[in-house]
């Protein structure tokens, strides 16, 4: 009885996720700063930001819908934290798993975007409404290639469970090579989900102030920022679990270190892309996703179908 509570609240649940996501944000910001030839923030910066926001006044605009405005950050945080339990992190087994959890994880990672939309829409500020509509428009662009690439990997493993996928890919070493195309597409489209720089159109601070979060302040903003950070960690863990199924037999401690290294490598890829590219326009982003990534993701599905026919007769 105590063990699940410990798992959910402390390790690898909320508390671990909290510090891990703050560390991930620090790593991302520091690396971004170093790539821009700056010194960058000190190590405690995300924690200081979080504490400061907790200590600030909550302002709820008069015209905003009080209940939706307050609930949305909590929803975002809950859904991304739940998704974490179904992803195999170190070792081949996730904390909880059932057949079909890969779909559940993908949808749990979509819920935050909907909360950004609803929170922004019910703020009733022009900037946040534009940001909300943009984040939903962007959702329809990147979601399809991202889902297709991850489901293509599941197709090859012939299961809808992430834990069984991890078991399959470690039982067949070398099979991850077939998913490299999918990995590249998933990594790029994940930036759209995280609203990081080439695809940070919904938050574009030079155009629409802060997008959906324009009216948020204090504790609610802190929860939203935390859920964005956790979403980064969870999304990247998902990619690491699906596309980098290496050394999963290493045991708990070595496995944990390998997992952290995988996450660090993927986050540094995110910061690298963030420093390399400028923001795209919304139409460019949608063109790119639908005309380039979606056909390539479809190609990945076809490749995996053919491989499946050829390899498992």
């Amino acid at each position: 009885m105590l063990m699940p509570i410990f798992n959910i609240l402390i390790f690898p649940g909320l508390l671990f996720l909290f510090f891990f996501s703050l560390a991930a944000e620090f790593f991302d910001r520091k690396l971004g700063a170093r790539l821009q030839n700056r010194v960058g923030p000190p190590w405690f910066q995300p924690l200081a930001d979080f504490i400061k926001l907790l200590g600030k006044e909550d302002i709820i605009p008069e015209e905003a819908d009080n209940r939706v405005f307050k609930l949305m950050p909590v929803f975002a945080l809950t859904s991304v934290s739940c998704a974490f339990f179904y992803i195999p992190l170190w070792g081949k087994n996730a904390l909880y798993s059932f057949n079909g959890d890969v779909v559940v994880v993908l949808y749990l990672l979509t819920v935050p975007i909907l909360t950004y939309f609803l929170g922004g829409w019910y703020s009733r500020s022009v900037f946040s409404m534009i940001g909300a509509v943009r984040s939903l428009t962007q959702l329809f662009a990147y979601e399809v290639p991202l889902f297709m690439t991850i489901l293509a990997a599941a197709l090859l493993a012939d299961t809808w469970s992430l834990s069984k996928m991890a078991a399959f890919y470690s039982a067949h070493p070398g099979y991850w090579v077939f998913n490299i195309l999918g990995f590249v597409i998933a990594q790029i489209t994940l930036l759209g989900k995280l609203e990081k720089v080439p695809f940070d159109i919904p938050e574009a601070e030079t155009e629409i102030v802060a997008g959906s979060f324009t009216e948020y302040s204090g504790r609610l903003l802190a929860l939203f920022r935390l859920s964005i950070n956790i979403e980064m960690v969870v999304g990247i863990s998902l990619l690491a679990a699906v596309f980098m199924p290496w050394w999963l037999d290493a045991g708990p401690i070595a496995g944990f270190i390998i997992y952290v290294l995988k996450v660090a490598a993927l986050i540094s890829l995110v910061s690298l892309l963030r420093s390399l590219f400028a923001r795209l326009r919304l139409d460019q982003m949608i063109n790119l996703c639908w005309r380039v990534f979606a056909p390539l993701a479809f190609l990945q599905v076809i490749i995996n179908l053919i491989l499946k026919g050829a390899l498992f007769k």
Binding site: A33, Q45, I51, G55
Partner: protein, 148 residues
């Protein structure tokens, strides 16, 4: 001072998010503020981030004398910021009105409209002076937490 107050104060000192607002400056101070955020001076080492919305900001950086047209907007932006909030007047004009003092279209310094926590003189105030002023303001938090 309780432990929680200390921790929150630490957070406030380490993470001042600024909002830059031109209250009628000639643009020189604005360029210097932007220079402070560039890689050469890199204010992010002190946790300073430039924010676009007053709801996220802790520190309002005002540059220039308050013109009569911008007075009501300055008040509105100040009121939109969540507590605790600080106002920094950047440049001589923002401190006292400078050479524009007494003009028909200009009120004097920022402090004629909203309360100011720190004054950074200079025409224009250099990024070094800006960093110095902001860190002094934040260190003063440690001694007497501003409560309202």
């Amino acid at each position: 001072m309780g432990v929680i107050t200390k921790i929150v104060n630490w957070g406030r000192r380490k993470s001042p998010w600024v909002l830059h607002f031109n209250t009628g400056a000639c643009n020189a101070c604005d360029i210097e503020i932007i220079a402070g955020l560039t890689p050469t001076y890199d204010l992010e080492r002190f946790g300073v981030l430039l924010k676009g919305t007053p709801r996220h900001a802790d520190v309002l950086l005002c540059s220039g004398p308050v013109t009569r047209q911008i007075e009501s907007r300055l008040k509105m932006i100040y009121e939109q910021m969540p507590e605790p909030k600080f106002v920094v007047a950047v440049g001589t004009c923002a401190c006292t009105g400078g050479v524009f003092k007494g003009c028909y279209n200009v009120k004097a310094g920022i402090n004629t409209v909203i309360p100011v926590s720190a004054y950074i003189p200079g025409c224009p105030a250099s990024p070094k002076a800006l960093i110095d002023g902001v860190t002094k303001l934040l260190n003063s938090l440690e001694e007497s937490p501003k409560k309202k």
